[in-house]
């Protein structure tokens, strides 16, 4: 019994630490959806590029980590602006076309990445190797750090959205685009910005998980669907909801995995999602 409790505690810890990584990836997705109403399939690819960026900047070119991060940040912001301008803007409002366009975009980035980066697994050495043991629950240092960074990024996003003029504009557009436009808000510019920030979040998420996992160009695909689940369960466009759902699903997978086995837990996550959609169609914190 005691063993069991310990297992669950450990599972809970792992779940939360993994969940916050999910949150990082999903946040950008939900931000972009909130403003542009785009289900951005290419999001996972940006995450992958972020991770690869760390590999090539920090490991291959031996740049200082901070500098690598800055480079990734700048590049991802730019990429966001370009993609919004080149692909998303011309299709604003046509959600079917947008879904397909982002699928195409993700395919292009991924296949180019396979060609460019090759098939060998890449990896980034961990900076923090220690284990923090707390009441018999073992917490890897590097994951704690990543979780902390994640928390900081979430906080920053909150500040941006709820404490700045840009954020105000974003929320206005999310509420009612037409009115926002009438109020003289340059919706196109805000959309571009949202897209850029969303991309940056994804890239940074990739950058910070790079030392934890091994990297290959397929890694984006592996996270994107889970991220969709999270933003849906959390409620599209809701930051708090995304954070909640991310942690929830992380814990669900992990504790569920401990109790009924990873195999069953995998299915369980989807069952939960369908349940949420049936009983709270707008997601946990979505505006119905």
């Amino acid at each position: 019994m005691d063993v069991y409790l310990h297992l669950i505690a450990q599972g809970l810890a792992i779940g939360l630490l993994t969940g916050i990584l999910y949150v990082l990836i999903a946040l950008g997705l939900t931000l972009i959806y909130g403003i542009l109403h785009i289900v951005n399939f290419a999001h996972g690819e940006i995450y992958m590029l972020g991770a690869m960026g760390v590999f090539y900047g920090y490991v291959v070119l031996k740049l200082p980590f901070a500098m690598t991060l800055v480079a990734i940040l700048v590049l991802s912001l730019l990429l966001g602006l370009v993609v919004e301008r080149a692909f998303f803007r011309s299709l604003r409002g046509q959600w079917l076309q947008l879904v397909v366009a982002s699928v195409g975009l993700s395919l292009i980035i991924q296949s180019l990445a396979w060609v460019a980066f090759g098939i060998q697994e890449k990896n980034v050495p961990s900076f923090f190797t220690g284990i923090v043991s707390f009441a018999g629950v073992r917490l890897p240092m590097e994951r704690l750090v990543a979780a902390a960074v994640g928390a900081v990024l979430v906080a920053l996003l909150y500040l941006l959205v709820y404490r700045t003029k840009v954020g105000l504009a974003m929320r206005a557009i999310e509420e009612d685009e037409e009115t926002a436009r009438m109020l003289g808000i340059n919706a196109d510019r805000v959309a571009a910005l949202a897209c850029a920030i969303g991309f940056a979040l994804a890239a940074l998420a990739g950058a910070f998980v790079a030392p934890i996992y091994s990297l290959n160009p397929g890694m984006g695909l592996e996270v994107i669907l889970m991220s969709f689940l999270i933003i849906i369960v959390g409620g599209l466009g809701s930051i708090t909801g995304t954070v909640l759902a991310g942690l929830l699903i992380g814990v669900l997978q992990s504790v569920g995995g401990v109790l009924v086995g990873a195999e069953a837990a995998y299915g369980l996550v989807f069952v939960v999602m369908i349940g949420v959609l049936i009983f709270r169609p707008a997601g946990l914190l979505g505006k119905a």
């Binding site: 080149a86 090759g118 990873a262 995998y266």
Partner: protein, 392 residues
């Protein structure tokens, strides 16, 4: 509807690039060997190994004569993306359109739908698949397994490894697909035989292909206090993360892995010290033959990276095949199959090779080659000398 000129520009540029994509060449008087393998997607590493193995073999074979006619080996690649339906498409194209009669096919999971085609057309299949009797059996006389099968690996090593390490509790963590489930059965059967010696199988868990978090599964396994965790055919990335995360959870026993595509450097880069004590079957710590070394160097030169583990067996099989064809003086796959099964081959990169498996599979279509065992120490493979059990 607004258009985006910039986007179009970008795309046209891309289009130009992609039109320059490689396509299968059509040479005349050529002897086509197909690589029906994944060259894209997560399993690409395995496929490229086979493709390059064939290409290197083709170079070395050069021109050969059958019934007075001169032939040159031409390698034709068909991407299966490791998906059953795509494999069926590839097979149809190879067999019916390009009239290919010989080839390497990767994957136990993709074999069932093409076995009927193999039987109907007598296609000579060099199966690169660990799992199962469904490929190697009397019904498929033209299907040769050119790598050690799971049954073979586990029969050869499970007992002796446990003995050497004095391990009593053995656990299994494999991919949640036909390979994982099949190999779990194989290892359970082997551990059963050791009941007398007090060795027991304590738990089996499965993970989704491409998973990067193994925490829950590992927790359940480690709770059973295993001495060895068999990680099945988990590829480099997975085994490294499994080791890393298992150590983080306080496991300090051994791992056993049975895949050929395992990069010592990558593992120790990803897992650091945690990567120690991974025992790899099918990985050579020291080159077994001069040919092996020479191929490794040529691959590095030609493709600019370390050779994927599937290279050697494919190379060996291709050379062996052409030898047999030349001797038999015919391309008739049935005749060649019989000749091949009866023959043995001295110049396999792993050493002397022959065919066995009558006992296990009821037909002599399972390659029998030296199977290496290595252990990861200080980021390098070191020989792990255990006496290998018998397989026939």
């Amino acid at each position: 509807m607004r258009r985006s000129p910039l986007a179009l520009a970008v795309l046209v540029a891309l289009a130009v690039v992609s039109v320059g994509a490689p396509d299968s060449a059509y040479a005349q008087k050529s002897f086509k060997i197909a690589a029906i393998v994944p060259v894209s997607g997560p399993a690409a590493a395995f496929g490229l190994g086979c493709q390059r193995g064939l290409e290197l073999a083709a170079e070395d074979i050069g021109v050969f004569t059958v019934a007075g006619e001169k032939y040159k080996v031409e390698v034709v690649t068909y991407d299966t993306v490791y998906a059953p339906d795509k494999t069926v498409a590839a097979m149809n194209r190879a067999v019916y359109n390009d009239k290919v009669k010989y080839g390497v096919i990767i994957g136990a999971g993709v074999h069932p739908p093409i076995l009927p085609i193999i039987r109907e057309t007598g296609f000579l299949d060099f199966a690169f698949a660990a799992a199962g009797k469904q490929i190697t059996n009397p019904e498929n006389p033209t299907a040769f397994r050119i790598m050690a099968s799971s049954d073979q690996l586990y029969q050869t090593y499970t007992a002796s490894i446990a003995e050497k390490l004095g391990a009593k509790r053995i656990a299994f963590l494999g991919p949640n697909d036909e390979l994982g489930k099949n190999d779990a059965k194989a290892i359970k059967a082997e551990v059963e035989k050791m009941k007398g010696k007090g060795v027991s199988f304590v738990a089996d868990e499965y993970y989704e292909r491409g998973a990067r978090d193994f925490g829950p599964a590992l927790l359940r396994l480690i709770a059973q206090k295993p001495d060895i965790i068999d990680t099945d055919g988990s590829p480099t990335g997975s085994i490294a993360l499994i080791a890393k995360q298992a150590r983080e959870l306080g496991y300090n026993g051994y791992f056993v892995n049975t895949t050929a595509v395992l990069e010592a450097k990558a593992i120790s880069d990803i897992a650091g010290k945690a990567g120690e004590n991974i025992i790899a079957l099918r990985i050579w710590a020291n080159p077994p033959t001069k040919l092996y070394t020479e191929l490794a160097e040529r691959h590095q030169k030609k493709y600019g990276e370390a050779a994927p583990g599937t290279l050697w067996e494919t190379y060996g099989a291709a050379r062996w095949l052409v030898d047999t064809i030349t001797k038999a003086g015919t391309f008739d796959t049935k005749k060649v199959a019989d000749a091949l099964a009866g023959s043995s081959y001295a110049n396999h990169p792993f050493g002397p090779a022959s065919w066995g498996g009558e006992k296990a599979y009821g037909i002599k279509r399972q390659i029998v080659i030296p199977i290496p065992a290595s252990i990861l120490k200080n980021g390098k493979w070191e020989p792990f000398d255990v006496k290998s059990g018998k397989f026939d």
